[in-house]
Symmetry: C2
Subunit: 149 residues, 2 copies
Amino acid sequence: MKLSSSMEDYLEAVGELCNQKGAARVKDIASKLNVTTPSVVSAIKNLKRKQLVEQERYGFVRLTRQGEKTARSIIRRHQVLYHFLINVLGLDYETASKDACRIEHAVSKQTLERLLAAADYIEQESRQGLNWSYEFQKYYADREDSERT
Amino acid sequence: MKLSSSMEDYLEAVGELCNQKGAARVKDIASKLNVTTPSVVSAIKNLKRKQLVEQERYGFVRLTRQGEKTARSIIRRHQVLYHFLINVLGLDYETASKDACRIEHAVSKQTLERLLAAADYIEQESRQGLNWSYEFQKYYADREDSERT
DNA sequence: GAAATAAGTTAGATCAGGCTAACTTTTGAT
DNA sequence: ATCAAAAGTTAGCCTGATCTAACTTATTTC
């Protein structure tokens, strides 16, 4: 039962709002995703049909058991990606955040696991004195400099 | 003048077909992208409007000057990503290919440049005896093993 | 507790991108 | 040169995701 990118975004937003406030309101989902409330309503209707979300009429939105599971994996995907972009590639938060939002819908399980492993591996290495990230940042900066000439 | 993912796919396909055969035929674009010819026709109409492509009625499709430039950058994006997935993360061709196709529409210029730099850096390191990829593959394999227990 | 405000919903439009079916033009075989 | 097959096109439909405008229900405030 695959979700579209868009539905993943909604489920992710519901998940995050539930995590931080216990339940999600339509208007908060809307403002988080920069869409209008009718868009949220129709998306929620869709997620209800898929049994990922529950909502009493005019009330709060909450995740079902299955919804929680799915949301968790979507959020994890985002997190892993974001972490990788920042801690391995050394991107700024702004760019990392935007790219993570878009790329997350496109990475396979396999790729994701390797991105995570790479970040972990590099972190482990750095505890042993071989600071990959630092060396790479230096390399990257130099290379950028030389391109500007 | 930003292109949708879908339009990027069409332009990329036209670019590749032109590279290998000098011009693209509607049916070849269709089979490359797994869509029907009417879909191609309407996409081409769109790319014509954007001046990225030319075509005499019932004839071949070719890139304009601007189209070539754009196609080149899209193709490069794909290539860089594919290379990274294989040579840095160690994914199999199949997965790398599929993921590259989907992720390419989502990576920013900044992320792309760093992915490229990371791949180059690692390659350079490996010429100096520090075989990152090899070590990482080992790390990854071990970690997968221990998860299976 | 009634009126005003906020939140949620419904109806209906639009747009992109895909499809099928039917048609036209081009190509190629005899 | 003709006519069958292949390639390209057009028309029209469908789905997903968005929007605005208008409406309904809940909440807040006096």
